[in-house]
């Protein structure tokens, strides 16, 4: 139950190594290009934060994409008004989405269970509509908010006026935030985010959140003001989402309302459940699977399939292509849907439950040895 700090450190080091070496070990899977790697890292942060709330307290929020979108808008405004250095933009994105999380959390946490979920969904759709149409002066509506040449950029123009006609690119003290540097920047933030999440999992606060999930009424009769606990967790996870949103903007300074749509909120729920709700690593496995499907499976088309089956006799290859093609390319959602159903039915605890089962099977083989040692 009580993780020693040494094992905490070990988990963190392994995690850091795996994340930083993604460009190498994802090479054989065809996923080692910066765009996708950045997505892995950013959605990893988003889902860590989401899991801190949903995984620990059991409250299912259907509106977390709001904070992602708000983080993006805030970051782009920071680029437009202050500087194209990404650091202030990230801080600003976290703060603004934290404010939104505070307001939405305050309202929604008056109810629990399905009512809480519906309230978050309703408020998130409201925010989406505001961003899409009503608040066009701030969000630029359909066309998405982006940087323009005549933007003020007060801090930048004060230090060193931008010369040339092109748009300045976002950077971290001179390092441009695109391609691999952008990925490594996101990866470092992902590792820090993961560290914070380990600490929460192993803290009294984390235990208290899990106790709320287990039996909220007992918590109240044991002297806890559970609403403040839930509110804090909601706030933290909203700020995580804001961080992820501002990183999206840092990589590609563009913020659109579609980032806030309910499908985006649903995606993070899907990732968390697919990987394993309430586990440290699980949700990030969910990110890996879904983003991989979205980017790799969807790129397969009829011809690509025929080519990969070309080692077979032609009629067989064509037959196979006919069978497989609905599941790739445009149809990648179909494969994902089947996978999601299989996981939920056979592994209700997500991919992590599968991993645990395999581990248990191996340790069962080892057990006779252990008992020999102890006796």
């Amino acid at each position: 139950m009580l993780l020693s700090s040494r094992s905490e450190l070990r988990t963190l080091l392994i995690f850091a190594a795996v994340v930083l070496m993604m460009p190498i070990w994802l090479l054989p899977l065809g996923a080692a290009y910066p765009d996708l790697l950045q997505k892995f890292a950013i959605f990893g942060i988003f889902v860590i934060g989401y899991n801190l709330f949903f995984g620990l307290t059991g409250y299912l929020s259907f509106g977390h994409a709001t904070f992602l979108g708000v983080g993006s808008y805030a970051a782009v405004w920071c680029f437009k008004l202050l500087t194209v250095n990404v650091l202030p933009a990230i801080v600003f994105g976290i703060l603004v989405s934290g404010f939104f999380a505070a307001v939405i959390g305050f309202i929604c946490l008056r109810r629990s269970g399905i009512y809480f979920s519906i309230l978050t969904l309703a408020l998130a759709q409201m925010c989406y509509s505001l961003a899409y149409s009503v608040l066009t002066p701030i969000t630029n509506g359909e066309t998405s908010l982006q940087m323009e040449a005549h933007d003020a950029r007060l801090l930048d123009s004060w230090i060193a006026p931008h010369v040339g006609d092109g748009l300045p690119i976002t950077h971290l003290f001179g390092i441009p935030m695109s391609g691999y540097p952008g990925f490594y920047f996101c990866a470092v933030i992902l590792i820090i985010s993961f560290w914070f999440s380990i600490r929460i999992f192993n803290s009294p606060f984390g235990l208290q959140l899990r106790a709320i999930k287990s039996n909220q009424e007992r918590m109240q009769y044991s002297g806890y003001n559970t609403r403040i606990y839930l509110f804090s967790a909601f706030l933290i996870s909203g700020m995580y989402a804001g961080l992820a949103g501002s990183l999206m903007a840092a990589i590609d300074p563009l913020a659109g309302a579609e980032r806030m749509q309910w499908t985006a909120s649903g995606e993070v729920v899907l990732m968390t459940i697919l990987g394993g709700v309430g586990t440290l690593i699980g949700p990030m496995l969910g990110v890996g699977v879904i983003k991989y499907f979205e980017n790799i499976f969807s790129s397969y088309n009829h011809d690509a399939l025929l080519e990969s089956f070309s080692f077979l006799p032609q009629p067989l290859a064509e037959a196979l292509t006919f069978v497989v093609s609905p599941f790739v390319g445009e149809g990648w959602h179909l494969t994902l849907g089947i996978l999601f159903m299989l996981v939920v039915i056979f592994l209700p605890g997500g991919i992590m439950e599968g991993v645990d089962r395999i581990r248990a099977r191996f340790s069962r083989h080892k057990q006779p040895q252990q008992t020999e040692q102890t006796t």
């Binding site: 139950m1 009580l2 993780l3 020693s4 700090s5 914070f196 600490r199 929460i200 192993n202 803290s203 009294p204 606060f205 984390g206 235990l207 208290q208 899990r210 106790a211 999930k213 287990s214 039996n215 009424e217 007992r218 918590m219 109240q220 009769y221 044991s222 002297g223 806890y224 003001n225 559970t226 403040i228 606990y229 804090s232 933290i236």
Partner: protein
């Protein structure tokens, strides 16, 4: 009854109706510090309703519940607990997804840190003192061997003991027990009586609702009898045992223990 200075808990003229049913009518009760008060009565007499009024789960229609002179009316359950009132429920309320040790530690945290403390960076394992104390209470209740198991896997009797440990670790000034031995074997019941007697030596005030007369007469200093929402008798155990109204209420209600 002695002078009011030592009265720790009192219920004044509490009424409660559900629909047309008078669940509690003009209930008065005063419990002295350190006393063990048993509340008995046939099924449906309003015993659990009374306890729910005490912990703020149900608001009374009229009347006041006071703990150490402070009104409990309108207070939230966590607030009442922070004042020093702990409760063992009729069906054990525990954290089934956590280990026994974690169950007890949660209770201990709220006693030490209050209703809310934001401690996301503190390591759970650094809480040595709380850990020792929680283990001590698990040992006291003979369930320490299961300390690392999930509470969901316990038998019903052990779940009750766990809940008792969770209450005791908070050193409450007033402990409310709703049928603490229901569903326990004779052996476990006797063990629970022993434990409750031990707490009594520490001067903890207790209110017990119980059907088992063996438990009631082993523990109670005074007994109040509730029938159809009203207190019909109150006194020392022997007085209540020989009270005609009480015998009638029990036999008339078809209940005999």
């Amino acid at each position: 009854m002695s002078d009011s200075a030592s009265i720790i808990f009192n219920i004044d003229n509490v009424n409660k109706t559900f629909g047309g049913l008078q669940a509690l009518s003009n209930v008065n009760l005063a419990v002295e510090e350190g006393q063990t008060r048993a509340i008995i009565g046939p099924n449906g007499a309003g015993k659990s309703t009374l306890l729910n009024v005490c912990v703020g789960r149900i608001a009374p229609d009229t009347g006041v519940v006071r703990f150490r002179g402070q009104s409990l009316t309108g207070r939230t359950p966590h607030d009442i607990n922070q004042l020093g009132v702990a409760r063992v429920f009729q069906t054990p309320e525990i954290f089934p997804d956590l280990s026994l040790l974690q169950n007890v530690m949660i209770s201990a945290f709220s006693k030490r840190d209050g209703a809310f403390r934001f401690s996301p960076l503190k390591a759970l394992k650094a809480e040595r003192q709380l850990y020792e104390e929680s283990m001590h209470y698990l040992e006291d209740l003979d369930i320490a061997e299961h300390a690392e198991q999930l509470a969901a896997n316990l038998s019903r009797g052990d779940k009750r003991r766990l809940e008792l440990a969770m209450c005791l670790v908070q050193h409450p000034r007033l402990l409310l027990l709703d049928e603490p031995t229901a569903g326990m074997s004779r052996h476990d019941t006797n063990r629970t009586i022993e434990i409750l007697k031990k707490i009594k030596e520490r001067g903890m005030t207790k209110i017990i609702i119980e059907h088992d007369m063996h438990v009631v007469f082993s523990l109670a200093d005074r007994i109040s009898v509730l029938a159809q929402g009203a207190i019909i008798a109150e006194g020392l155990p022997e007085e209540v045992r020989n009270n005609e109204k009480v015998q009638e209420a029990y036999l008339g209600g078809g209940q005999h223990d």
